[in-house]
Amino acid sequence: MKAMNSIFDVAGKTPLLTAEEEVALSKRIEAGDSAARDKMIQANLRLALSVVKKYSKRGVDLEDLFQESVIGLAHAVDRFDWKKGFKFSTYAYWWIQQSVRQYLASNTGPINLPSNTFSKLYKISEFEKEYQKEFGKKPTDAEVADMFGTTSATLRSLKQSAARTLSLDAPAYRSEDSGSRATLADVIPSNALSVEESIDNQRLQAKINEVLSSLTEREKTIIKMRFGIEDQEDK
């Protein structure tokens, strides 16, 4: 946090550049002046901070996030074309945002998502928020899929891939006075069969297999027809 405070100090003390100053600095950068490059970066630290602020509640270290945003900013400084006549901040914002999002995509959970998947998920969540604001209800999967030109199944798997993961060894309760050390693994019921049940099932299956093989062809055909389990070859 100390480091962040000094960053805030530096960013706050550096005056913002006018459009003319930006062009002058860009010309110097083009000529290979590294001091001009540093000045351009320092003068736009506030922009980097504003992007960091937007993504600050994603559970990642703020300093790391800031570092990523500065990398994006530096990239923007190197690629900025002053001849096109735009303000530097307009151009740099997208580079900073892209850099931050890419970092978030690979650091927000144990499963790393490709950055395009992450940005798609971000767009989906923004759309859902907007939809809810406008119509007062959440859009259905089909509506969202339609909007993004994909299928509901793809959308579901996208959302599943971004689901938060929990460790089975995480404590199940937050009670401090009970002293309980139960983990999630202790309290989640298991659907697996017990050893006895499993052996019992195997025996039963073997018995049924034996009986099934003793059925006549006519009996088998009729059972298959009745329950729709005939192969194309059988027909």
Partner: protein, 93 residues
């Protein structure tokens, strides 16, 4: 008179309307005729029940259940039992 509540599950017919490609007795009879196996719809039902009975008997024996004819037949007719047998045949195939 409607069947008493709670009885249909055990005593009703095994519904095939929700199973894709499943056929009723008449359809099976027609299909068998096409394949050169002449059999009427009632006979189809009898063959199906006899097959289910054949399967139910050793299972009753294995489970230490009553081997009385009527008890075994009740299990053979049970819709749940029939569906389980069908899914087992599907698995084996």
């Amino acid at each position: 008179m409607a069947m008493p509540k709670g009885k249909k599950f055990d005593n009703g017919y095994c519904s095939i309307s929700d199973i894709p490609n499943a056929k009723n007795y008449r359809q099976i009879s027609v299909e068998c005729k096409h394949r050169g196996m002449k059999i009427g719809p009632s006979n189809v039902r009898n063959v199906l029940l006899s097959a289910m009975h054949k399967i139910a008997k050793p299972i009753c024996e294995e489970r230490g259940m009553s081997l009385k004819e009527e008890d075994v037949m009740r299990i053979a007719k049970n819709p749940q039992f029939q569906l389980s047998v069908a899914s087992l045949i599907k698995e084996i195939d």
